[in-house]
């Protein structure tokens, strides 16, 4: 097994120790910064790095907000430069998802941190000595207020996008809410509207370890010879456990668990995972300041856009940007359900939002490591490409034809008819939107609001590439994301036969849509009847039901007559019924339950 330090690289902060940031720039603001929770910073400094060129229209600037232990060095500036915290994943740079050939990237060090921007280690002008424990409580709002000064200083009126993960994602949310007319796009990765109680609890324990380290001296260790290294290292060790998924830890440590690695650390080195944590703890105290850790972790803990969905919707209501929200399936520190809450709140106030829960084994660290960048990076790239502003060149990889991941057949003859059924300028929710084909057709016509829902990850990415708003969700789990009567039309095309909870899905359709359009294959199509009646075989046909009985995505089989009965039994109003023979490409008017292989119903409650 490898004993080198590099074997431990797995997240932002492992890349570098506290080396000077040679490409960093510094600006100092003399006007006082009033703080949200009281107090004033009489003068403030921000250290930042930039990449790429600001264009003449000054509309290609992207602000990147780093996470708790990150800094302004998001990427290397040249080949001689050390790697930045997002270089492991390769997110920022020429031709990368955040493409510095086209975009002007700004990454400032955070207020309250310890890398040059004003923080507990800065000189307090009132005393001439470092603030230390006297540094005031800082909020996420204060952080973005300070960043906004920098943006103004750079002569930028409106940001193309604000991007960040984890604590950086908190800043993205705060930017979009506080400065709605200065943000075109918000990209919130692996973040939340408030910490879970579990995440909060881990922060509390880490802080207690620092606060009760005898070398902490109530934060007044600045001029002492010792620092609260043990407490800070303990906090960092706890953090590291929470950044990794259990699977990732298993892969990393299970096989050689009894063999500690040969690393320099003063901590217990029993077990491979013990040596890893000891190493991470020891390295961290070399480059991070305990008062900064307390300041930043408290800012995260205090960040709170509300407990209920309505509170959260109210908090997010001022935002005017387009949103991309990304979570990671194995992230248990900022679990996907928290991103879903943000998405639901945005939808509740008619915001433009896309959401993907990226399949990942990497836990919270996923947004920093390369394993899943093929998907989250592509989402970021496609979202940025479809934002307003000066053209960014061709879309990255907009899909031309249908993709192989589509479980249903590629020709969607029902789409034309469905488009005809939907008046222009209405709002439309397309459930099971696949790669956004129907929504793209509608986009061309002009609509108040178009939203897709899709479960398949690749289809979600393809929809974002097309520039439509798409929410990743499982229809079988309901549409709790959406409010009653939120849309003029809800479309469920060729999906009914693939859901387990038909009654639940239809109930939700009728709750969310004023009118609902449902299309499904007609199981009583005469060719199918014949197969069963004459051959005694499970029906299949070249049309809508060409699958084998044992591997079909379809698990529900209903006929036009069955669906009519289903509606009648539940008092569902049927406004229109259209029956198609998709092989012939014609509408069926005579005995549709016999001659049609596909039905379209317009219904409402």
């Amino acid at each position: 097994m490898g004993n080198s330090d590099s074997g431990f690289l797995n997240s932002s902060d492992s890349v570098r120790s506290g080396a000077p940031l040679k490409h960093a720039q510094t600006v100092t603001f003399e006007e006082p910064l009033e703080l949200e929770r009281g107090g004033v910073l009489p003068r403030t400094t921000v250290v930042f790095e930039t990449y790429g060129q600001l264009n003449e229209r000054r509309d290609n600037a992207v602000l990147i907000c780093h996470a708790i232990s990150g800094d302004s060095h998001v990427a290397r500036h040249d080949e001689q430069d050390g790697p930045g915290w997002w270089d492991l994943a390769g997110v920022v740079g020429p031709g990368r998802p955040i493409d510095t050939d086209r975009l002007f990237v700004i990454c400032p060090n955070i207020l309250g941190g310890c890398r040059g921007t004003t923080g507990p280690g800065s000189i307090n002008p009132a005393t001439g000595r470092p603030y230390g424990a006297d540094f005031p409580t800082i909020t996420t709002g204060d952080m973005v207020a300070h960043q906004k000064r920098l943006i103004g200083h750079l002569g930028i009126g409106r940001l193309r996008a604000v991007v960040g993960g984890s604590m950086g994602g908190h800043q993205v949310l705060a930017w979009a809410i506080r400065y709605p007319d200065q943000v075109a796009g918000a990209i919130a990765l692996a973040t939340s509207a408030r910490l879970t109680s579990q995440a909060l609890a881990f922060d509390v324990v880490g802080r207690n370890a620092i606060l009760h380290d005898p070398h902490f001296r109530d934060g007044r260790y600045g001029e002492e010879s010792t620092r609260p290294a043990v407490g800070l290292a303990i906090a960092r060790m706890i953090g590291h456990i929470t950044y990794l998924s259990p699977q990732a830890m298993q892969e990393k440590f299970d096989l050689d668990r009894l063999q500690p690695r040969d690393v320099a650390t003063e901590f217990e080195k029993e077990f491979s995972v013990g040596s890893y944590l000891g190493y991470q703890g020891s390295k961290f105290v070399e480059r991070f300041d305990a008062n900064s850790y307390i300041t930043l972790s408290m800012a995260m803990d205090l960040f709170d856009l509300g407990h209920s969905r309505s509170q959260l919707a109210e908090a997010l209501a001022p935002s005017q940007c387009r949103w991309l929200v990304v979570s990671f399936t194995s992230d248990w520190l900022f679990p996907p359900s928290q991103s879903e809450d943000i998405v639901a709140a945005l939808l509740a106030t008619n915001k433009s939002v896309s959401y993907c829960n990226v399949t990942s084994a990497c836990g919270h660290d996923a947004f920093l490591v390369p394993d899943d960048v093929d998907r989250y990076g592509e989402l970021v790239r496609a979202f940025l490409a479809n934002l307003g502003g000066a053209p960014l060149g061709t879309n990255s990889e907009a899909p031309a034809g249908p993709r192989p991941t589509s479980i249903f057949q590629p020709q969607r003859l029902d789409y034309d008819r469905i488009v005809e059924l939907i008046p222009p300028h209405t709002s439309v929710l397309d459930l099971g939107c696949a790669e956004g084909q129907l929504l793209t057709m509608l986009t061309a016509r002009g609509h108040e609001r178009l939203v897709g829902v899709e479960l398949d990850e690749q289809a979600v990415i393809a929809s974002v590439q097309r520039g439509v708003d798409v929410i990743q969700a499982d229809l079988n789990k309901g549409l709790a994301t959406f409010r009653d009567r939120e849309f003029d039309f809800v479309v469920l095309s060729l999906t009914l036969q693939a859901v387990r909870d038909v009654e639940g899905v239809v109930r939700e359709l009728l709750r969310v849509g004023r009118r609902c359009i449902v299309s499904f294959p007609n199981f009583a199509y005469y060719k199918l009847r014949k197969v069963l009646a004459e051959q005694g075989r499970a029906p299949e046909s070249p049309g809508q039901l060409h699958h084998k009985w044992y591997d079909s995505p379809n698990i529900r089989f209903c006929s036009i007559a069955d669906f009519q009965q289903f509606c009648a039994d539940r008092g569902i109003t049927v406004h229109r019924q259209i029956a198609l023979d998709t092989e012939a490409g014609t509408e069926v008017r005579q005995d549709p339950n016999y001659y049609a292989d596909l039905a379209i119903f317009v219904i409402s409650r």
Copy 2:
């Protein structure tokens, strides 16, 4: 909101502070105890409590092994007595799952602990002073070796059962392996064959907090005026987070997260969860010893029955008892997959084992709290009732007829035919065994080995009540638990039509069984054909397919002809085909694909 201490009660150790154990008994052994990792304890003491009466045959004794912060006081002895750690859930006592009217319960304090049994606080005979840091490393094996002395002292040759959760479960595993002829039943709750790397990591951080507390003084704090209270409290806070599920923390703290509760603690009291953790940390140091915590947590960390399934199977091979393994769905410290590993290893060496993954929101604490005791307590009760030894009276609640949870129809006419197809003295695996009816029929005949697999929790409990071995598992996730050709017969009765991955399930059937018996409803039954052909409606009939198209548990529809083709295409040998008309109760010989509503196939690879 309540500010009382009782609002914080949620796990074993919250119940009591370090009050003397007034019903405790003490035995001292003068012969030295040789320790697994070197060293000797020249004399040892065990403090224990007992409940109920040892019967004349001395075969009704149950040993309960407590978890890291528990002790011998598992239950109150009388109304004046304080509550024991399992009283919140009500597991031990007259009429309770571990019924002290029938069983003789022994609960010793653990070796290495701090409640009277020999541990770091005991006097080292070599020095006349407390061991402190000189206390040797203790393993789970040492713990059970010490418990065995007590059992011998009490004149008990063979235990009816050994029961324990978490660290107590480690002891259960060790008992069954080391003293196979002295254990009839092993009940392992919320435990594992080794910690996950994540759980190990949390232990390492907690230990580092203690070891680096300046008051720890390399463990030689015994005669000092201060103790490593901060380090121990930090370790305890980390522990508390890991004992709760994220959902449980949300319910407990989310609504009033900014309101710390009014508790006595020296720790940070920001946030409700902060005051909770501070309180738990402060209380713990009043009753627990840091050296004991290090000793016991290290024993847990060192417990390791192997990484691979074959290592684990080899480790468990010596055991001869029947096993009940119980995990809890929301337990992330000892996740259900670890119990599944134990179960797979037991099955691999033909052990008698039942397994249930109890649905719970309570996390690792689930086995200590009352929320889910209706299920895990019933499993314990039913398992104990069906163990060998003197009769324990009637079974607790053995089900008489079919239960409403059964998703298929109650009359199972195919069972009689299936029983006829299976020769006596063979080994049989029944997949989708429901409440164990078929296995009960087979039990009466005598078989080498009978095992059921079932997904439904209530059906699993009912199977355990019947005394059959049942494993809770989802067939759609495969049969990885079982080896190639492990059983003479594998039965999949009326389940094929309800699984999504038909090909995968059939492949697994054929891998695990020498012969496989598959029964399924015949979709080409003439009454069903008629419904579709003549009425144009999704077929249903009073027999096997009486469900509606939209809420049927059945999602796959195949005919006898389809299944014949399916087998032919895959080179699967069909040994027998039986077709039944279950309405008439007769076998169908003429045109079964038309006249039979149910088919039974005997197949092999």
